[in-house]
C-alpha cells in the first residue's frame, strides 16, 4: 500500500500549477511549497499538474524543477514527479550509463515490476532514447553479468498462479547441483531464474529449502564479497520477496558509512505509491527503529522533508 498522503480536498490543478510557479519565482525557491504540493499528489494528479503547467507556462515542469533545485532534493523531486514508467526508463538508462556498479538497479527494475509494467518501461525507453533497453544492456554489461541481466530485462514472465510441482522439484535439484559444482553462471541455472514465472520460482525455492535444508540464498554466500553472487542473491530476493528486497536496500543505504542517497532516493520515490507500507513494516521489524526515525537521523533539510513526506506518517 501507498504511504503518500493526498489531502481529502485537493485544490484545482490550476491552483497547484500557480502555486508551483510562485514557489519558483523571486530570489529564493520555496522548497516547502513544492513539497506541500508534489509530495501529496498521486501519479494521475501529478500527470495533470505537468500537463497544465506545460500548457500554462509553455515550459516542462521537470525543466523548471531542474533549474530551481539542487543536489539530493532535486533528484528526489524529479524522480517522484515522473510518471512511474518514465521513471523506470530513466533509471534504467542512468544505470546503463553508470556501468557495472549500477547493475543492481537493472535487476531491481526487471525483477520487481509486473511483466506488463516492464514492457511499458521498455516501450517508454524507445520513445525517450531512440533505442531499446536491451541493446544498451547487452552492449554495456559484460561477462556473467550480461548473461544474467540481459534476459532479465527482456523477460515477459507468465503471471498466473499455476505451479508445476514436477518441474519445481527437477529445477530445485538443478539449482542445487549447479551450486554444489559452483557453476553459478550455468546456462540452465540462469534460464530458470530469468524465464520462470514468479509463482513457479517460489515453488522451486520452497522445494529447494525443504529438500536441501536451507534457503538458496544461504547457499549462494560461498564468498560473501563475490559481486556475481551478490547480484544472484538480489535477483532471487527481488523476484520472491520484493518487500524484503526493498527493506534491505533501504537498510544498506541508511546504514552505510555516509548514507547512499541515490539508493534511498530511488527506493522511496519508486515504492511510495506502491508497497511502501509493507516495506516500512519489514524495516521496523528488522531494524527496531522506524524508517522515518532512520531517515530523520541520517538526512537533513528539504531532502529529509521530502523523504518523510513520501514515507508517510510513522503510525501509518
Amino acid at each position: 500500500m501507498s504511504t503518500v498522503i493526498v489531502p481529502a480536498e485537493v485544490p484545482p490543478v490550476s491552483d497547484d500549477v500557480e502555486q508551483l510557479r510562485k514557489a519558483f519565482e523571486g530570489w529564493g525557491t520555496n522548497e516547502g511549497l513544492i513539497i506541500e504540493i508534489l509530495a501529496h499528489r498521486n501519479a494521475e494528479q501529478r500527470r495533470c499538474i505537468r500537463q497544465t503547467y506545460a500548457q500554462t507556462y509553455n515550459e516542462d515542469l521537470l525543466k523548471a524543477l531542474d533549474k530551481e533545485l539542487t543536489r539530493d532534493f532535486e533528484k528526489i523531486v524529479l524522480l517522484w514527479t515522473y510518471d512511474p514508467l518514465e521513471r523506470d526508463a530513466y533509471l534504467a538508462n542512468e544505470a546503463v550509463k553508470t556501468g557495472a556498479k549500477s547493475n543492481h538497479v537493472l535487476v531491481e527494475i526487471a525483477c520487481t515490476r509486473s511483466s506488463h509494467d516492464l514492457l511499458l518501461a521498455r516501450k517508454e525507453y524507445h520513445t525517450r532514447y531512440q533505442k531499446s533497453l536491451e541493446e544498451d544492456v547487452a552492449q554495456y554489461t559484460t561477462g556473467d553479468f550480461r548473461k544474467l541481466i540481459w534476459p532479465l530485462v527482456t523477460s515477459y514472465r507468465y503471471e498466473g498462479e499455476e505451479v508445476n510441482m514436477t518441474l519445481a522439484k527437477s529445477e530445485a535439484k538443478l539449482l542445487h547441483d549447479k551450486i554444489t559444482e559452483k557453476c553459478y553462471n550455468d546456462d540452465d541455472f540462469i534460464r530458470v531464474l530469468t524465464t520462470r514465472s514468479k509463482a513457479q520460482i517460489n515453488a522451486t525455492l520452497n522445494h529447494y529449502k525443504d529438500e536441501f535444508g536451507q534457503e538458496i540464498n544461504k547457499d549462494l554466500k560461498a564468498d560473501p564479497n563475490d559481486e556475481f553472487l551478490k547480484i544472484l542473491r538480489a535477483t532471487i530476493k527481488a523476484l520472491t520477496y520484493p518487500e524484503k528486497y526493498f527493506e534491505k536496500a533501504l537498510r544498506l543505504a541508511i546504514n552505510k558509512q555516509g548514507t547512499d542517497e541515490d539508493a534511498l532516493t530511488r527506493v522511496v520515490a519508486t515504492r511510495a505509491e506502491f508497497d511502501m507500507k509493507t516495506i516500512k513494516e519489514e524495516y521496523k521489524k528488522r531494524s527496531s527503529v522506524s524508517l522515518n526515525e532512520a531517515i530523520a537521523k541520517d538526512t537533513r533539510g528539504d531532502y529529509e522533508d521530502m523523504l518523510l513526506a513520501l514515507a508517510g506518517s510513522d503510525d501509518a
Copy 2:
C-alpha cells in the same frame, strides 16, 4: 500488400455462419463452400464469423473445422482462420514442441514481425499456454541455437529509422572479424543481430558489403551444410529482406522432393494478408514461373484450391 480477394459486397455475418454450418452438415463436407467463405474474408471479418458462430451454435468454429477437415487442407484452413497473433502463438508453440528442426519457424516469427506484434504474440502465448514463450524456447532449444533464438524471441527492437553510422562501421568490422575467426557463436556477434533495430542492422550490413567486398550471407557459407550457419543466414535475411526471405522459403518448400507442405501452408497463411503481393513478385523474378503456377503444379484438391484462393489472382 494482401492477395486476399474480399468480394465488393460481403454477405451479413449471420449468412456466412449459416452457410458454414451447412457446409459441415450431411454426409460429405462442402469444402468448396468453406473456401468460398473463409478464404475471401479479412482478419476482422473472420473474427466476427468465429464470434457469431460460437454464439449461434455454442461451438468454436475452429473445433468444428477440426472435426470436419483432414490433412493439409485442414491445417491451412485452421491456420488461416486464426487471428494473426493467435496464429503466431500457435506456430511458435508447435515449433517449440517439434524441437530443433523447427528452429527456423521461431526465427521467422521473431524476425519478420513488428516489435509490437511480437509482444502481442508473446502475450497471447501466456493466455493460450499458461507460460511464456521464452521459457519454452530457453528450455527446449540448446547450445548455439538457444544462444541465438532466445534473445531473438524476447527482443523488442527499436523501430525508428535513425541510424548511427559510427556504430554501423564498428559493428560491421566486429561481424567481419568474428566471421574471419569462425566465431559464429560469439557473444557480441549474436548481440548485434538480436538487439539492434532493423534500420541499424541494415546500415551495418550495407557498410559490411562496401568495406569487405561481399554480402555477409556469402561469408556465412563457409560450410553450406552447417545448420547453425543456415539459421544465421535465415536470421539476417528475415531481418533485412523479409520478402526475399519468404520467397526463398516458398521456393525451397515447392522445389523440395515431395513438397514441404508445412512450410508452404505456414508462409501462405501468415503472409496472404500482409506482403504476399511483393513475395509473389520476388518469386516470379527468381523462378521464372508464377507462384500460382508452381502451386498448381505441386499440390492438388481442396488444399490446392485454398492455397490459390489465398495467393490471389496471377496478375494481381
